[in-house]
């Protein structure tokens, strides 16, 4: 069964925030809301300082805590693993926002399309569905690929089906060492970070 996942190559990301801008333009999110953002992490102390740019957002977890706590059933998980929000059901209690260990959820009264309800990255689900309906391949054909991945100038972001061993993301995961954020919490995030070649 298809299982969509995002892969970010931390060695390639330059922190240009083009993915953030592309996401904002595609999804028309208001000021202060960034479904896809890039953290600028500085680690260590002078002179031993290292820096990493880390794309973050909804991890579309295997076992999403946001879905379990949602009192209105607005947050659901599709068979392909994409976690969605029904904006017509959501009451905007923000319980999902405090349940999310990735700070991926927002609630904004300035959101013209989705006022005062929970919002987050959707993996550009409408785009994927429309692309698949045309027979395109998500993660390969831009029309069936999330906007942030399409816009990445460094090819640091990748999208595809991790259940398919021949997919682009499966190949990347096989060729490189990777981790997932806060894996110890047992949420099963489907956002993989590449950090080195496979040994």
């Amino acid at each position: 069964m298809t299982t969509w996942a995002m892969v970010a190559d931390l060695r390639r990301c330059v922190g240009c925030q083009t993915c953030t801008a592309a996401c904002k333009q595609t999804n028309d999110t208001p000021v202060g809301v960034q479904w896809r953002r890039v953290l600028d992490m500085e680690v260590g102390e002078y002179p031993d300082v290292r820096r990493a740019f880390v794309p973050v957002g909804c991890m579309h977890c295997d076992d999403p805590p946001c879905m379990h706590v949602c009192p209105s059933t607005a947050t659901r998980k599709r068979a392909d693993g994409i976690v969605t929000i029904d904006y017509d059901l959501c009451i905007g209690c923000a319980y999902c926002a405090v349940a999310c260990p990735y700070q991926a959820r927002y609630k904004s009264s300035e959101d013209a399309k989705r006022p005062d309800v929970a919002t987050k990255c959707t993996f550009c689900v409408e785009r994927i569905d429309a692309g698949l309906a045309k027979g395109l391949t998500a993660g390969v054909d831009p029309e069936a690929t999330p906007a942030c991945v399409n816009s990445c100038i460094a090819q640091a972001l990748h999208f595809g089906d991790v259940a398919d061993t021949t997919s682009n993301v499966s190949a990347l995961l096989a060729e490189n060492q990777h981790f997932r954020m806060h894996e110890e919490l047992g949420t099963g995030p489907r956002f993989y970070y590449l950090w080195d070649k496979a040994p």
Partner: protein
């Protein structure tokens, strides 16, 4: 906007959400204390219902889409917020019946109130994004603070020995729950409230409670101290100790040729 790896205090639940835990918990505790002491007056039940209603009204003011509030009942299978809402309905129904006929409805309302405050504890525990809330020990802490605060308020209606003894037990249980919680969670935001909880809310309150067997009026002071210290702790827990998970990289990217 770049936050970096350090955690920051969540901004989604503010004093309005805290008010639900404070008023709702104390109100539930009052309902339970009223059932135990069986005071002749119906005022404690009325006050308990009012406090729980005020807490829920406060949190209603916080939600984004207020006219859709009824949707909160849609997910009893996994959401503790939905379960809390159903428990609240039970408390109101049985509490109203208890106003009319305390026996047998007041004990039933107290059982529903216990379920209500338990759900509040589980609401915090299910908040996986907030380390200070998701600790399993938080449930007993929330329940025991509710019991102690409610018993403290109940002392203003009657200082019957049974109620005073229950109050003392609840305060001891709260201290035990805090001790368990503090062994799992260390938060700078809880240092001052915890100090007050231990020194005034526990040691001071227990001394006053013992003395109250000879000077009943001191029980009122003990009740107030237990109430204020418990409410402050919960306020700090919800609004100030609620640092999120932050971000953490187990590996930094390896750049350049190897």
């Amino acid at each position: 906007m770049s936050f970096g790896p350090r955690a920051w205090v969540q901004q989604h639940w503010d004093a309005r959400a805290a008010a639900n835990f404070m008023l709702g918990g104390a109100g539930a505790g009052l309902m339970i204390a009223a059932a135990l002491a069986y005071p002749d007056s119906r005022a404690p039940v009325l006050l308990a219902l009012g406090m729980i209603a005020a807490g829920l009204a406060a949190v209603w003011l916080e939600i984004g889409r207020k006219l859709r509030a009824v949707n909160v009942f849609f997910n009893p299978f996994t959401s503790w917020m939905t379960r809390e809402s159903f428990a609240a309905l039970l408390v109101f129904a049985l509490g109203a019946a208890a106003l009319w006929q305390p026996r047998p409805f007041l004990p039933l309302a107290a059982a529903a109130a216990l379920a209500f405050v338990f759900c509040q504890g589980r609401i915090l525990r299910a908040s996986k994004g907030i380390p200070a809330w998701r600790a399993p020990q938080v449930t007993l802490l929330i329940v025991s603070t509710g019991l102690a605060e409610g018993a403290g308020i109940a002392l203003y209606f009657t200082t019957a020995p049974l109620l005073v003894a229950w109050f003392g037990l609840a305060v001891i249980l709260r201290a035990f729950a805090w001790s368990r919680y503090a062994s799992a969670v260390q938060s700078p935001a809880l240092v001052a409230p915890a100090k007050m909880l231990v020194q005034i809310g526990t040691v001071g309150v227990l001394l006053l409670t013992l003395m109250a067997f000879w000077m009943p009026d001191l029980a009122l002071l003990a009740g107030a101290a237990a109430l204020v210290t418990g409410l402050w702790l919960k306020f700090a827990l919800v609004t100030r100790a609620s640092l999120n998970q932050g971000f953490h990289l187990p590996h930094l990217p390896v750049r350049g040729a190897r």
